[in-house]
Each structure stands twice: as structure tokens, then as C-alpha cells.
Symmetry: C2
Subunit: 424 residues, 2 copies
């Protein structure tokens, strides 16, 4: 399969428009420059459209899209105990597949071309990725709460899932080892996770310092701050993708940077669940961490749009630091594209020959994107999901003029509605 | 003119769906209930669509849409001095009209049916409102910086504009007296403003306590906090719509409530310009103030979407107060509809017989609005501008299936681009 994108408007580093054609061969960008004349099986007239790398959403629980709007405006622990956990107990392979398809459909329609997921019934999520044409890095979320019997089972399932699905769909699916968090996992589970990831040569995904309570619990239990505790277990390495990292000290940020850890920053979820802090992004950037953005699940956001995440990322930092110059549009955009791809170990996030063809086209003529003083600013601060017109993932046209080609959107919505009704 | 909306999905107080038909006669909702059979000149099949009151954006500088993306990620005073003011000096009647049309077009496409504007060249803004079918409350922004000669001129122009346009377009345009702020206006200008507003029986719109610097300046000059200072001038009354109100003490909130002042809260602009604080909404609500939402200008937001404003309002309060239960979806929605209409003195914001027919229809089948556990939550936390399908203002169909009927959207964008190029 080959695709030639003609007459698109790409964006310079300064946010200005430049004409660009792109030739895609197989799943890879083979050429990107103005005036490409080459034969291709499929030709896209991208005149009047902005060409961008697709977004990488590095922290999601896609199946939780079934719970969108089911429980809002509640304190985190009450929310979990009274609303989320009871419903999750009723979720089976079928409901997780339906929820994952709903979430993937929303992600595609808002320009996301890859995501990371940690949940249960992960075979269903992997099947949804397989069915939809999406790209993702998936891990089975392991929790032992210190129970040794549970630990063995969880590690077995985590490793089985990682082995079974890694590299599937010609590489569209990659897998990781996903111990849930330092408070829900024993030190043995965390150490075994790192060992399995070394053995399988894969990433590790976990929640880290999302709430202040978590910080206090770990300090009480280990007499160390969470990052120091993980380091003492030999857990930290460039394999690690740590979600949230809100309650991180400047010293912990330095250590995360030294160990090559990637961050999935989730500003909307953090604000909505009222954790109170703001992740120390400038310190984490200064320490050399790769920064990416995650929406978290739709139950705590309640959107999977990376446009909202980019804007909220910049707004939250500006607000929390009393500094309008912190996290510029260009930086938020890089987190959502290049940074996200790097965090997931995907060779994408830039419009450059040799990179995977994960690309999106926006309606350059949309009224909310006028005038075109700075296109990066317009994308980060002014665009919304409805501006995304076309989506290419792994060299395949997945959405054209807002119509999903790889599956039946109406059926996905119908199934999700039915499954949501069963469990809620 | 009469319109019958058939088979719409309206929303109960609890966020559940209920079937609803609406009959509009002239510019007013005459009936709202299921199963209306009446003859009407125009019939809208609203099956599969959510029916809501349109949003009121109570603080905008619409013409600043020309400057969207022109200057971002800058400290407020540098931003004003180096970028905004030099360009504003070049703006004339033609550019303000073009910018206002661009902003109005974006507002309609994101479900806003009325707005409040304070700027210069206000005849051009009024003409844009007249041309577009929009509803608004407009005021000429007066600034004297203590200069007596300037004061007389400003007051004359403020009163002329208010007299000339009030009630125009069969009441779609109302006017107000708009002294810019307590730091840019002398006490004499503020007092004269209140007197003129009494004489004309109209609202007063001003900026109040947006930044900490403003608070310090007024305390130094008057030995009073800004709200106490305004009260000492006899300025405060139910006529007043005060934008921002970030640096307000609990005592000031009580006084604002006692005087019946309405608030235009602008969370996105406040975060983007990094003022640092968060308006004390719970205290202002507790004091009995009418709360509404404003986007501020597109140069400091950079969007005019009230969906973003509702969500950011709730997120910022939850974040700042460490309380996930503060500003529930239902409250943010009320600020954007009922609260906004009340703040602008417009008899709208609810789907009730006797109210003005300012209504919008959303695509109920959009993937980002599934499932329908709670429709109010979906609108506040999950919807985006692209979900708005139809807009009715003052009983007239202004947008149908995302196509603007009352003016040529392409021409509006072309003119705005040309004018932006001239001044920037």
C-alpha cells in the first residue's frame, strides 16, 4: 500500500505554514517535501488542510469510556469505592472490548494515533486495537496488595499477556509490564516486574505519586520518598513510563532524569480528581525526562481529546507557577507528539522520512483556527477534536473526512451503550 | 416566523434524557413539552439531537479574534505593551468589524447565542451583531487614566454609543456603560458611569481585580481594597457586571453579593495570563452573586468556546480548593446558561415558555458523548464545539447542520485574514 498526500500545509518550527507533500510506502514515510510526483495506490488532496504527526496518549484506561459521566464531582476514594470498583467488578471480556472500541473511536476522531493502556481483561483491549487499526502499547495492570498468592498469579498473567501480544498486527501492538503502583504492589512484585521487563526487553508502565496520600503512605512504610523507594529496588531505568508524578520533589525529578524515566503527565485528570498539586514539569524537563501527555480514563477526565490535554497542560503550569512563559505552545505540542512516541518506544511523532506513517490532517479553514499568525499556537490553544478531518495510522487511511473507514462507528456506539447499561 | 422543533432530547435536572418538542413563535418559546402538534412555518426534525439553551459569553473582546495566536506565552504587561497595544493602535472601524464577525462566527459555531463586549470602535461591533443575527450587550470601553479632558470625551462617547444602539434589531442589541477598570479609570469617571447608567437604566460592565498588581495599586492609592473602594464611590448595584474578580477577599465577596453584583468568571484567560489566583467562586456563590462565564478575548484564551470555559471553571476550582466536589457539572452549566442570561439582563437561558428562543442542538450520537449516564456531565466535561449542529437566536435559525445561514462564513474568514495581515 502506498499513499501520496498532496498540497498539505505543514508547520515550521516557528509555527508558520509551509507547503508539503508526503509519500507513504508500506507503513513508513518515505518522502516529505514540496512537489513530490510519484505514483501511489491512493492519493489524498490535502489542500486547505494542516498536516501534523498524530498524537500519542500515553496514559489511558480505554475501557473506562463505558463509565464516562457515571460518577463525577466526587472525592477520589469515595469515587473509587462507591462507584468505580463496584462497576469494574461486573466488567467482563465483552464489556471491556466494547469500552475499548468506544475509547479508540473517540481517540481516532480527535487525532490520536497511538496510546498506552493498563487495565484488566487486556486481551479484549488488544483485540479492539487489532480490530480498529489503532497503534498501542498495552500492559496488564498487576495488583497484589502484598498477597503472595495473588502476586504469582498477577506476574504470570502480566508476562503471558506481554509475550502473547507483543509485535502483533505487524508491530502495531507492543506490550509492557504494568505493575499498578508502588502502593498497590509489593516491593517483590515491583522487583519481579523490572526483571521480566529486562527479560522481554519491553517497557514498564505504572502510576507514580498521583496523590499526596500515596506519598505519605510510602514514606510511612519505607521511610523513603516514592522515587527513592523505587530506586532502592533497582526499578528505575529508561524502560519506565511513570504516569502522573504530581507529588515529586525537585530531588526526585533529578533522579528520574538520571535514570532516563519517561513521564505521562495527566493534567485534566489531576485537576478533576483534585489531587491539589501540579506535576513539576520544568524540573522534570530540566532533569532530562521525556515528557508526554495522558488523558487517563474517561471516568476521570471525561474526554480522550489530546487537544484539551495540551491546552490544560500549559494552563495548569502557568497558573501553578505564576508564570505565563512556562510551557509554551511549542512544548505542549512536542509532549503530545514526539515526546509521546518516544515514551511508548514508537518511531513516530515527526513528519520525517523513515518515521512510521501516523499522521493527521486538520481543517485549516475552520473559523476557530483563524487567522494563521502561529499555527502551533492555534493547534494547542484554539483547536478542538472536530477540526480533525483525516487520520492515517501505520500507513493506512483510518478516517477520511471524519468518517471512520476501519470499523462501523454506529455499531461501536450501540454496543457500548448496551454494555454500559448492563454494568451500571 | 414560527419554528416547531420535533423529537428533541432535552435534559432533566438529574442529567437524564427526556423527549421534548418546542414551539417558537416570533422570538419567544411559546410551548415546550412532548407531543406538540402545531403548524409552523419551519419544522426541525431534532431526533438524535440534544436540545439546550444557548450559552451566554459574558466577557469578550470579540474583535481581538484578529490577534489570536499573535502573542502567546508572555507575561501580561510585556504582552500588552510590546504586542497588543501597538497593534490595537492600528485597528480601525474596518478591522474591528472584521474581527468581531470572525469572533461571532466562532461563537455561533460553538453554541453561544449571546455575548457581552467592551472595546473601542464599538459601532463596528454593533454592526457585526446586526449583520450576524447574534444577540449581545455592548459597551464602549472608557479609559481616562486620570486625565480630565480625556474623561469628558470618553463619557460622551460611552453615552452616545449606549443611547444610539440600545434596543436596536428588535431588542437583539442592548447597551451598557463600560468604564474599563478601577485602575485605568479615575474615581470621577467611575462615579459618572454609575450616574449615566442610572439615567439610561442600563447595565455597567468593568474589569475588577484581575491581577494582584491591580489590588496593590488600588490599596496604595485609596487605602481600600478594590470592592470597598468602588462601594465608597456608590458604584456597586445590581447594574454591575464585574469581569474576573480573582483577587477578591471573602469580605469583598459578601459585599458584592449584598449589592447584587454579577460576576463574569474567566478561568482560561486567568490561567493563561498566569495571574496566579483563582476567583473565590464558592464565596461569591454563597454571597448570592449571579455567576456567569466569559472567554475574554481570543488573544488571551485563545478560543471563544464556552465548552472549554465550563470545564476549565470546574477544573480550576477543584484544583485550587483541593476539593473534587466543588463546582459540579450542573453548576458550571448553569453559569454558562441561566447565570449568563441573568448577568446580561436577557430573558433567556432556560427552555421554558415565555423565554427568548435562544436555543442550540447538539449531536446526541457523537462518540465523545457516549454513553448517556449523565447528559449534563457529558456537555460540561466531554463535549466540544464540533458537537453543535444547529443554533437558533431570537427565534431565527442561524446555523443548520453546522452551516451558518445568516452570513457567508467563507467571506468572513477571508476578510479577517486580510485585516489581520494589515495590522500585524
Amino acid at each position: 500500500m502506498s499513499i501520496l498526500i498532496k498540497d498539505a500545509t505543514a508547520i515550521t518550527r516557528e509555527g508558520k505554514a509551509k507547503k508539503c507533500d508526503v509519500l507513504i510506502e508500506g507503513n513508513t514515510i518515505s518522502r516529505a517535501s514540496p512537489g513530490i510526483n510519484a505514483s501511489a495506490e491512493h492519493k489524498i488532496n490535502a489542500s486547505g488542510k494542516l498536516l501534523l504527526p498524530g498524537f500519542a496518549n500515553t496514559h489511558a484506561h480505554t475501557a473506562m469510556s463505558l463509565l464516562r459521566g457515571y460518577a463525577d464531582d466526587m472525592e477520589l476514594h469515595k469515587w473509587l469505592k462507591e462507584r468505580i470498583w463496584p462497576v469494574e467488578k461486573k466488567m467482563n471480556a465483552q464489556s471491556v472490548h466494547a469500552g475499548a472500541m468506544l475509547g479508540i473511536c473517540e481517540m481516532i476522531k480527535s487525532g490520536t494515533t497511538s496510546f498506552s493502556d493498563m487495565y484488566f481483561q487486556m486481551d479484549s483491549v488488544a483485540k479492539a486495537v487489532s480490530d480498529s487499526g489503532m497503534r498501542s502499547m498495552l500492559g496488564y495492570g498487576m495488583v497484589d496488595l502484598g498477597d503472595e498468592g495473588k502476586r504469582e498469579k498477577e506476574l504470570k498473567e502480566g508476562e503471558r499477556f506481554a509475550r502473547e501480544w507483543n509485535g502483533k498486527e505487524e508491530g502495531r501492538i507492543s506490550t509492557c509490564i504494568a505493575p499498578h503502583s508502588p502502593i498497590t504492589c509489593s516491593s517483590e512484585l515491583l522487583q519481579s516486574s523490572a526483571q521480566i521487563a529486562n527479560k522481554l526487553n519491553c517497557k514498564i508502565h505504572l502510576h507514580l505519586s498521583e496523590t499526596r496520600e500515596e506519598l505519605f503512605q510510602i514514606m510511612q512504610k519505607t521511610n523513603k520518598r516514592p522515587v527513592d523507594y523505587l530506586d532502592s529496588l533497582g526499578f528505575l531505568s529508561p524502560r519506565v513510563l511513570a504516569a502522573h508524578c504530581v507529588w515529586i520533589s525537585a530531588q526526585e525529578a533529578v533522579l528520574l532524569g538520571k535514570k532516563g524515566v519517561s513521564i505521562s503527565h495527566c493534567p485534566v485528570s489531576n485537576m478533576k480528581l483534585a489531587g491539589g498539586g501540579a506535576a513539576p514539569l520544568p524540573e522534570l524537563m530540566g532533569a532530562g525526562c521525556t515528557i508526554s501527555l495522558g488523558t487517563d480514563g474517561a471516568a476521570s477526565n471525561n474526554s480522550l481529546s489530546m487537544f484539551e490535554e495540551m491546552k490544560s497542560c500549559s494552563l495548569l503550569q502557568k497558573h501553578a507557577r505564576w508564570d505565563a512563559e512556562v510551557i509554551k505552545a511549542q512544548e505542549a505540542f512536542a509532549f503530545a507528539t514526539k515526546g509521546g512516541a518516544k515514551a511508548l518506544g514508537i518511531n513516530a511523532g515527526e513528519i520525517t522520512p523513515g518515521k512510521l506513517a501516523d499522521l493527521i490532517l486538520l481543517d485549516a479553514k475552520a473559523v476557530n483556527l483563524q487567522p494563521a499568525h502561529n499555527l502551533i499556537s492555534n493547534i494547542v490553544y484554539s483547536a478542538h477534536a472536530g477540526n480533525v478531518m483525516d487520520v492515517i495510522i501505520d500507513g493506512k487511511l483510518i478516517m477520511q473526512e471524519r468518517k471512520i473507514l476501519s470499523f462501523d462507528e454506529e455499531k461501536v456506539i450501540e454496543k457500548a451503550e448496551n454494555e454500559a447499561e448492563k454494568i451500571c
